[in-house]
């Protein structure tokens, strides 16, 4: 394919892959989709939250699961960054700490697909550095 250098090239790309991509009902149905929030405050970014978010988006796409990945601020667990909050519809949100690339893949693979719990959960009664 040609190099993409303009918005019209991007439109071309859209036409090329439109048929390949199954259109998902995104944000309108966010209450039935898995939601992943990546902590993207100064502490998160400095610990590599950008790479974590990239991997989460890529991996969810590769495994073909419907996930809404968004950013959030600091949850107070700066010592455990990058932190990621995963909400499966109908269940309580779970916060994972120290989510590097490998951990991010593990969360998708084990927690989201196989339904197993994985290490690294920050319990809700855990203290933030403020307490």
């Amino acid at each position: 394919m040609n190099k993409i250098t303009s918005l019209s090239d991007l439109k071309q790309l859209r036409e090329d892959i439109q048929s390949k991509i199954k259109l998902r009902e995104r944000s309108d149905f966010s209450d039935v989709l898995v939601q992943i929030k990546v902590g993207m405050a100064t502490c998160g970014i400095a610990s590599g939250a950008k790479e974590t978010m990239n991997v989460l988006i890529e991996e969810a796409e590769r495994q073909a699961i419907d996930v809404v990945v968004t950013q959030t601020g600091c949850m107070g667990f700066c010592y455990a960054e990058p932190t990621v909050e995963v909400t499966i519809p109908g269940r309580d949100p779970i916060v994972f700490g120290h989510v590097d690339k490998a951990k991010a893949r593990e969360i998708i693979e084990k927690y989201l697909i196989q339904g197993k719990l994985v290490d690294g959960i920050i319990p809700v009664e855990f203290k933030t550095i403020h307490d």
């Binding site: 190099k3 993409i4 250098t5 303009s6 918005l7 019209s8 090239d9 991007l10 439109k11 790309l13 859209r14 892959i17 439109q18 390949k20 991509i21 259109l23 998902r24 995104r26 944000s27 990546v38 993207m40 405050a41 100064t42 502490c43 970014i45 400095a46 950008k50 978010m53 990239n54 988006i57 890529e58 796409e61 590769r62 990945v69 968004t70 950013q71 601020g73 600091c74 949850m75 107070g76 700066c78 933030t128 550095i129 403020h130």
Partner: protein
């Protein structure tokens, strides 16, 4: 923060927390003046003069989850370490503009970094915010807004792998053609 792009991602989060609906990121490089200027402006809540003064203090934050706020202080430190400065202009109810200037050729200037990735992640992570990016060098100018992207992509999600790759390519190819610093 290892790159200027990391700082941009960080300051964008400040704007998000200030309930901005429009965020503009502009990078200007001038070889003649030997400067690299990063300007992030939003139409969020803004700050009063007292808060604006405190914003540079690493031990001030508007959050309650922790007691430090290092985003702006680290940005300022990096700018000053490379012979530049950080300026905050803000008006309550109107918005805030953060401007950081770096000496382009300074050995301690952090690399520009993955601006394309920052634009993409911010656009995906904050889908309701209108984000615009402009990069100006002596060889030309490149601009991109999320509105343009939505127009070009229609219903296709920005987070789809092929689309992300395409947008990333669009940005990096254009930055290359205006010889943006790395």
């Amino acid at each position: 923060m290892k790159t200027i792009a990391d700082h941009i991602l960080d300051i964008i989060q400040n704007s998000v927390r200030a309930s901005a609906s429009r965020i503009k990121v502009a990078i200007r490089e001038s070889e003649m003046d030997d400067t690299l200027t990063v300007e992030i402006s939003d139409n969020g809540n803004g700050m009063d003069q007292v808060t604006a003064k405190k914003a540079r203090d690493p031990f001030y934050t508007s959050r309650t989850t922790r007691r430090v706020g290092l985003g702006l202080p680290l940005f300022q430190q990096n700018a000053e370490q490379s012979g530049g400065s950080l300026h905050i202009s803000t008006l309550e109810g109107v918005g805030t503009t953060v401007t950081a200037t770096f000496r382009l050729s300074h050995i301690d200037r952090p690399p520009t970094g993955d601006v394309a990735g920052v634009f993409l992640l911010s656009a995906i992570g904050q889908p309701t915010i209108e984000l615009s990016y402009a990069h100006l060098t002596g060889n030309g100018c490149f601009t991109l807004t999320t509105t343009q992207l939505k127009e070009a992509l229609g219903e296709l999600p920005l987070g789809a792998a092929d689309i992300m790759k395409g947008v990333r390519e669009l940005i990096t190819n254009n930055l290359e053609s205006i010889q943006a610093s790395k």
